[in-house]
């Protein structure tokens, strides 16, 4: 959009607007209320509801303002008797086939149709014909569908296509029989639920929240997603100490992600009130014994005595799912209370190489949406950083950006890519080396790509203007990440701004990296300490299997559920989930965002940082927080440069997130890393076999939450129309066709290495069973 201004007259007032602006947006910005159902910012135009009619001079008929681009000298009327008559007539037509069953409809109270008809509807209904009766049904365990309520705005189909790229839901049939549906009647997709979110009526509804309560009965608490590193803003609907649902609806929350959420963020809240939550502190009085419930006083006393015996041999491990406050408090515990340097985070990748060598700033999600060139090296944002993937897709579809993907697997995003360099399996490091060091020709055989492909890539980057964003994640080795983060700056020029975007796995991976600067590696900590304080479970299964934990004298775990780690624990302290604590998460664009307490901690749980400071106080060190999260954050902000000066009030407005200032290192001499990288690349086996076949939608998503799968839905639908509650009391189990829980999924998850990290919670994820 250019910055050129043109003049538009609306209702007699003259406004200067940007050229190319949409008329409906301009009118709404100027507070002229224009009703509309089908219009949705940043989606393809539809103009099917005809509610947004306006009169434009010199045009013969009333025009739909959602399809009109402002032109110079345009004279618009938005309110007149003629327009109102047309809109009221449209309202009447929309209701012609809409059942007036608001009392049983879950959307009642937050329904856009309901609200619009309050303003634009007539009391009398003149249509006496019987309505099209279609039965309610479930499209999947979490998407309930009542086709009769549909007003055919097609927001859902557009969202599915443009945001998710899945095309799983479409409008079938024709004329008055048109219904929103799918082939075969069930939904084969990642179950993101965005169609539910954007639906202006009760056609598509949350099947898990079905008939539970009413929107006005719920307390809406704005918080941050506890699964993906995108830091999506969401609203937790709770009532009576129970989390009922999570939405990102515009009327409740206005975060960086708009109304976008993914399946985990939206539906993965069953763990908060899960019956298997640890209820009280547990002590294992002798090795090999049972965990026995006890009181907080007893547990803290017990822990203190044991830690005093161990002296400074206490190691501290924090999970990257915890809040910044909790991780920072754990670090303070290590440094100030036990005087130990053994502290670390249990992330699947170390982000330090990336952030220590940062040569350009981090990209925000808005910048990704408006970027001109995007280079994705490895990773799979569609499954792990879903919002980033949506922004990439929209940048390509709606913004005309060029997407270049370098990957060993043809992921689904490659359909959008203007260039796809298909490299050999696990040879992304070699590509990083070739990308950083253009002179090196010998490694091409390792990459499995022709020199011309890399030349094309460099040419494309060289010709590009505007923002150029490089994204990469843990498919690259630490050295490769360091080198890439450092050479990114070389591409900057006057017409081109280069930005970096990491793809970490956890909600607070970036924050954990900031909090625990100067940490040791996980294995170092596990080897060097005799006692351990673990906040959240360990993610790496190797650490468990190596028997490190079984050889420790004393292990304290702050956990929500009994996990593989708590099997080794001597004391387990019940921790609070993200919905029960105040705190902050830092997302992959460096935004610090608030996590707010929606419900009281269940049972005897306490926030992780409170537990840690209770132990510290018993051991004689008062952190001075006094159970106040703002105080904890103040201490944190004062001691970490990037967060300097931040306070909770600065983070109050979720629509204006604050970006922390990660120091930009500038050009560094990385010959050591480059050499290490080269050695690693040279050691790679040469192969010509490439991975073919695009992975299915949700193949990682489902492994993370193991909530739904194709077969589970099919199985459910085969038995009529059951409430999917049984599935979602524990969003942990996948089902086979015969209804038995699927076990081999877990084994598969275990073999998938680090993904097991998610199999159990840490400050957020309840996932399934034993390792």
């Amino acid at each position: 959009m250019s910055t050129e201004l043109i003049k538009v007259t609306i209702n007699g007032q003259e406004f200067a607007v940007e050229k190319g602006a949409r008329l409906i947006d301009v009118c709404r910005e100027q507070a002229f209320n224009i009703p509309s159902f089908c219009y949705y910012q940043d989606l393809a135009l539809q103009a099917s509801c005809r509610m947004c009619l306006v009169r434009i001079e010199k045009m013969p008929k009333l025009q739909t303002s959602c399809t009109i681009t402002c032109t110079d000298g345009m004279i618009v009327t938005t309110q007149s008797a003629e327009i109102e008559k047309a809109q009221r007539a449209m309202g009447e037509f929309l209701l012609a086939n809409h059942p007036l069953d608001c009392p049983v409809c879950d959307r009642g109270g937050e329904c856009e149709l309901q609200e619009m008809i309050f303003d634009w509807g007539d009391v009398e209904e003149r249509f006496v014909e019987s309505k099209n009766a279609t039965p309610e049904k479930f499209l999947s365990p979490i998407v309930a569908n009542d086709p009769q309520r549909c007003i055919l705005c097609k927001r859902c189909t557009r969202v599915c296509d443009e945001w998710m790229g899945e095309d799983a839901i479409e409008a079938g049939n024709r004329g008055v029989n048109t219904v929103i549906g799918t082939y075969g009647g069930w939904l084969d997709c990642s179950q993101c639920g965005n169609c539910i979110e954007v639906c202006p009526t009760g056609t598509l509804l949350d099947g898990t929240y079905r008939h539970e309560t009413r929107p006005w009965e719920l307390d809406q608490t704005i918080s941050t997603d506890t699964y993906s590193s995108d830091g999506m803003q969401l609203s937790i609907g709770s009532r009576g100490g129970r989390v009922h649902r999570i939405v990102a609806r515009d009327r409740y929350v206005d975060g960086l992600n708009g109304e976008f959420l993914d399946v985990k963020a939206r539906f993965g809240h069953g763990f908060v009130n899960h019956e298997e939550r640890i209820k009280t502190p547990l002590i294992r009085y002798k090795k090999g014994g049972k965990l026995i419930p006890t009181t907080w006083d007893e547990a803290i006393h017990f822990v203190t005595n044991k830690f005093k015996e161990s002296g400074n041999n206490v190691g501290v491990v924090a999970s990257p799912r915890l809040t910044n406050e909790s991780i920072f408090t754990l670090k303070r515990f290590a440094k100030e209370v036990v005087g130990s340097e053994n502290y670390t985070i249990s992330d699947v990748e170390d982000l330090a190489p990336f952030f220590n060598n940062l040569s350009v700033p981090l990209a925000t999600h808005k910048e990704i949406r408006h970027a001109k060139t995007i280079l994705l090296i490895g990773g799979e944002p569609e499954e792990e950083q879903t919002f980033t993937a949506k922004q990439i897709r929209q940048a390509v579809r709606n913004g005309g950006a060029k997407l270049i993907i370098v990957h060993d697997t043809p992921i689904r995003l490659t359909a959008q890519a203007s260039q796809f360099i298909h490299v050999n399996p696990k040879s992304l490091d070699a590509f990083a080396l070739a990308f950083a060091d253009k002179s090196d020709k010998t490694i091409l055989s390792k990459i499995g790509a022709a020199q011309s492909e890399i030349d094309d890539l460099l040419k494309l980057i060289g010709e590009s203007e505007g923002d150029f964003i490089i994204m990469f994640g843990r498919d690259l080795s630490a050295e490769a990440q360091a080198v890439l983060a450092n050479v990114a700056g070389n591409f900057a020029s006057e017409k081109r701004r280069v930005l970096l975007h990491p793809l970490p796995l956890y909600n607070n991976s970036v924050g954990a990296n900031d909090m625990m600067a100067g940490r040791k590696s996980l294995s170092d900590v596990l080897i060097n300490s005799t006692a351990l304080l673990i906040g959240g479970s360990l993610s790496k299964p190797s650490a468990l299997t190596d028997g490190f934990l079984s050889r420790k004298d004393f292990i304290v775990v702050q956990e929500m559920f009994e996990t593989a780690t708590t099997e080794f624990a001597d004391v387990v302290l019940p921790a609070a989930s993200f919905a029960e604590t105040d705190g902050t998460f830092t997302n992959n664009t460096g935004f610090v965002q608030r996590v707010r307490q929606a419900v009281e901690p269940v049972h005897q749980a306490k926030a992780d940082w409170i537990i840690t400071s209770m132990i510290a106080r018993e051991m004689g060190v008062d952190f001075g927080y006094n159970f106040s999260a703002p105080a904890a954050f103040r201490t944190l902000a004062d001691s970490i440069d990037a967060y300097a000066g931040l306070r909770y009030p600065h983070l109050k407005d979720e629509s204006k997130p604050v970006q922390v200032k990660h120091p930009i290192a500038g050009k560094k001499d990385l010959s050591k890393e480059t050499d290490a990288l080269r050695r690693g690349v040279e050691a790679m086996p040469e192969t010509n076999e490439k991975i073919i076949g695009t992975p299915k939608v949700g193949h990682k998503l489902h492994r993370l939450t193991t909530m739904t799968s194709k077969t589970a839905q099919f199985h459910l639908l085969a038995h009529g129309n059951p409430k999917p509650e049984n599935l979602l009391v524990s969003p942990l189990v996948q089902f086979n066709l015969d209804g038995t829980p699927r076990v081999e999924e877990k084994a598969e998850a275990a073999s998938a290495g680090d993904r097991i990290s998610d199999v159990k919670r840490t400050a957020g994820v309840t996932l399934d069973g034993k390792v």
């Binding site: 608001c102 009392p103 539970e212 309560t213």
Partner: protein, 173 residues
């Protein structure tokens, strides 16, 4: 004043009073010998709520929460649930029904807004007015106390006919 005039004055007053009393004796009496004789209440009297059922005995309430939203004293508590069984086996008339429906009569002000709000005519005010209990907690009435099929009706009242004049003291005179 002498003692005699005092006696005369008092006797006079008593006689005057007794005259009025005796003149009322042959007239119709307004007091009711409750509970031996039932009280007559107006047809629109607002007593304890009734939750209604349809002709098949299914609860009419669909747990839309509108009564709870309309309630000025916030005394209605509902928990909704889905009953996906066919109509014949269901508890309620609709798939959606109230698993919990509580009214706290310690707070209810009998304003009748809930009845106004109900889109399904599922809740009305009944005539039961004997709500006193020994324990304050007993003022919380659950669905079992409120359902028309389960609520115990007092024998101590009768509803006036619509043409009947129950308290017309302001009309007469």
């Amino acid at each position: 004043m002498s003692l005699i005039s005092d006696v005369i004055q008092s006797t006079k007053a008593i006689l005057l009073g007794m005259k009025e009393t005796i003149s009322q004796l042959p007239k119709q009496s307004w007091t009711v010998q409750y509970p031996d004789v039932p009280i007559t209440v107006q047809p629109r009297y607002r007593g304890q709520h009734l939750l209604h059922v349809d002709e098949m005995g299914k609860e009419k309430c669909v747990a839309c929460y509108l009564c709870a939203a309309a309630c000025p004293s916030d005394c209605i508590y509902i928990e909704a649930e889905t009953d996906p069984r066919p109509y014949e086996e269901r508890i309620g008339r609709d798939e959606r029904f109230a698993r919990v429906y509580n009214i706290d009569y310690g707070r209810c002000i009998f304003c009748g807004y809930c009845v106004e709000a109900c889109p399904k005519d599922a809740i009305t005010h009944g005539y039961n007015f004997e709500l006193s209990v020994y324990n304050r907690a007993d003022l919380l009435k659950t669905k079992d106390d409120l359902l028309i099929t389960k609520q115990k009706q007092s024998k101590n009242y009768r509803v006036a006919l619509s043409s009947e004049d129950v308290d017309s003291e302001y009309k007469e005179v």
